[in-house]
Amino acid sequence: MKMLGQILELASSNRVEIPLIEPLLGMLPPPLSELAALPLWKPLFAALVVPGFATLGLLLLLLPWIERKLCARIQWRVGPKEIVSWLGGIIQLLADSLRFLFQEVIVSRDSHRPYFTQFVLLSFIPALLPMLFVAAGTIIAIRTEYSVQIMLALVCLFPVFILGMGWSSGNRFAFVGTVREAFMYFAYEVPLILSVIAMLLVFGTGDPVAIGESGRLGIVLNPLAALVFFIATAMGTSRLPFEIPEADQELAFGPFIEYSGITFGLAYVLAYEKLYVLSALFTTLFLGGGSGPMIAPLGELSGALWFVLKVIVVMVVFAALRAIYPRFRLDQALKAGWSSILAISLLAIIISSVEVVMWA
C-alpha cells in the first residue's frame, strides 16, 4: 500500500494538464481520482496515447487509406470505396488487417525459419522505441538532451532488420530487394545524418521540447537541410521516387515477398512506422514541433494536437509523391545520394555554422 501511494504521488506530480477533464477528476473521491489520473502520468500518457501507441495505430490505419485515395484522385481513379462506401472506404485497412489475421502464415522451405519469423516482430524495436523520445508539444516520455540523436540512431537500425528479413526469406526477389535496400542505405544515410547535425548546430540542443519552445522554424533557418531531410526520408521509407527496394512491378514487394498473412501485414506497415518516426523528426526539427495557437481547454494537449496535425500533413505530402514521380533507377539514386544530395547537406552544415557564428 505504501508503494502504491508512492507511485500515485509520483504520477500526480508529473501529470498532463488538461483543464477540460480536471472537473471530472475532481468529482471522484480521493483514491479513485488519483487512480483514474494514472494514465495522465506524463511518461505513460506519451507512450500510450500521444505521440505513442494510440496515435501511431490510428495513423497506421488511416495513412494507407489516405495514400490510396489521394493517389487515385490524382490519377483519375476512385480508390478504395466499397467498404463503408458513404465514408469512402475509410476502414479499408481495418478490413485488410482482419483478412491478414485469418490467413495462413506460410513459411517457405528455403527460408531460415527462426530468423524469418522473428525479424518481422523484432523490427518493431526500432519502430516503437523512438516513440519514447518524440515530443508532442511538451508531452514526452523520456526527456533528455540527446532525444533527436537517439531517435536518429534507432531509425538507422531499420535497414538491419529489413536486411535480415530479406536474407532469411531465401528468395531471389527478396535477395535482390535486400541488396537494393543496402545500397539505398548507403545513398541516404550520410545526407540524413548531416542534415540533422546541421539543425542540431543551429538549435544547440537535441531536446525536442526545447527546440519546440525556442519558437524558431527550422525550415526558415536552414531550408537546404529541410530539403535534404525530405529527400532522405523519401529514400529511407521507400516512397515512390526511390521505391527501389520494394519495386512492385519488378520485385513484387522486394524483401517482404515471402511474407503472408499477418506477418505480411506487419511488414507492410513497417515502412509507414518508419515514415511516422521520420515525419515526427521532420516536424520537430523543421516545423517547430508542437508550436501553434494555444487552445485553452485542451491545455498541454493543444501542443500535441498541433504536432499530430503537422505530422499528418508531412505524411500526406510523402504519400502524394507516389502519384507524382516515377521510380529512379538504383544507380541514379546512388549517384544522386553521393553527389548532389551530399553536396547540399554539406552546404546546409556551412549555412548552420555561419548562422551560429553570426548570432554568437
Binding site: L70, R73, I74, Q75, W76, V78, A320, A323, I324, Y325
Partner: protein, 248 residues
C-alpha cells in the same frame, strides 16, 4: 554502318524547377478537383448509343424464314430450329456469339433487332443457348442503377455527366425504308435469248421476241415486282435489280 547514339536532352536548372513545379501543381489540382472518369457500374450505367450491339431480340411476326441470319453468322452461333408450324426460326448460342450483329444487319424483314442490354448472366454454358421463345422476350436482368452517365467532351477533355434516372435499354428499330425494285438487262448484246428468265417469271413481265436474226429480251416494268427470280436464274448474269425510277 555507323551507330547512331542518342543523347539525353539537356535541361537547365530553371527548366527542372519549372517541370517539377508543373508536376506538383497538376497533382495538387487533381487532388482537389479530380477529373475521374470511372463509371460505378452496378449503381450507375453508361448511356450507350441506340445502335449499341447488345442482346438480340427476335420478332416472329416479321420473320420470313429466309435463313440469312444463319448463313451470315461468322461464329456459327445461329441455328435454325423447326417450329410446330413447319417453319424454321433462329436460335442464338450466346456462348459463341461475338456480337457482330451481322444477323441484325442482314435480316430482310427486320425481325432481329438490337438492345442496349449487355449484362445477362448464365449459370452454365448450356443455358447460354437462347431458344426462339427466349429471344422474343427481353432477358431478366437486375437493375441497381439510379443514374446514368454520359461522356461529353468539354474543353478538349473527356468529362462525365451524370443524369438521374434510368436509361432505357430496349431500342425501337428505326423505320425501315423499303424500295421497290425493278429488273433491267445490263448487257443485251450478251443475251443469248435462252428464255430462262421468261420461263421463271411468275408475272409474265419478261418476254423473248425475235427481231431479224436475233432474239431480244423485253421487260415490262409495269408488271415486274422486283422479286429477283430472273436475276438468280440468268445463266449469263446480265440481269440486275435496280431501284425503280422516280424513287429515292
Amino acid at each position: 554502318m555507323g551507330i547512331k547514339r542518342l543523347k539525353m536532352p539537356e535541361y537547365s536548372f530553371g527548366d527542372k524547377v519549372k517541370w517539377h513545379a508543373a508536376a506538383v501543381g497538376t497533382a495538387f489540382k487533381e487532388a482537389f478537383f479530380p477529373h475521374t472518369v470511372t463509371v460505378h457500374y452496378p449503381k450507375e450505367r453508361r448511356k450507350f448509343p441506340d445502335n449499341f450491339r447488345g442482346y438480340i431480340l427476335f420478332d416472329i411476326e416479321k420473320c420470313i424464314n429466309c435463313w440469312q441470319c444463319a448463313f451470315v453468322c461468322p461464329a456459327n452461333a445461329i441455328r435454325m430450329k423447326e417450329a410446330p408450324n413447319k417453319k424454321y426460326y433462329p436460335t442464338i448460342d450466346y456462348a459463341k456469339c461475338i456480337f457482330c450483329h451481322f444477323c441484325v444487319d442482314s435480316c430482310v424483314g427486320g425481325a432481329l433487332r438490337t438492345t442496349k442490354i449487355h449484362d445477362v448472366a448464365y449459370a452454365d454454358v448450356n443455358e447460354m443457348l437462347a431458344e426462339t421463345e427466349q429471344l422474343m422476350e427481353p432477358p431478366e436482368i437486375v437493375r441497381e442503377d439510379r443514374r446514368y452517365v454520359e461522356y461529353v467532351i468539354e474543353e478538349d477533355d473527356v468529362r462525365l455527366r451524370r443524369v438521374k434516372g434510368q436509361d432505357y435499354l430496349l431500342v425501337e428499330p428505326p423505320p425501315r425504308k423499303e424500295y421497290s425494285m425493278v429488273c433491267v438487262c445490263d448487257d443485251p448484246e450478251s443475251c443469248t435469248g435462252c428464255g430462262t428468265c421468261a420461263d421463271v417469271c411468275e408475272h409474265y413481265a419478261i418476254s423473248i421476241s425475235i427481231e431479224g436474226e436475233y432474239k431480244v429480251i423485253r421487260i415490262d416494268t409495269a408488271r415486274c415486282t422486283g422479286c429477283g427470280l430472273c436475276v438468280k436464274e440468268c445463266p449469263l448474269r446480265v440481269l440486275r435489280l435496280v431501284r425503280r425510277e422516280g424513287e429515292q
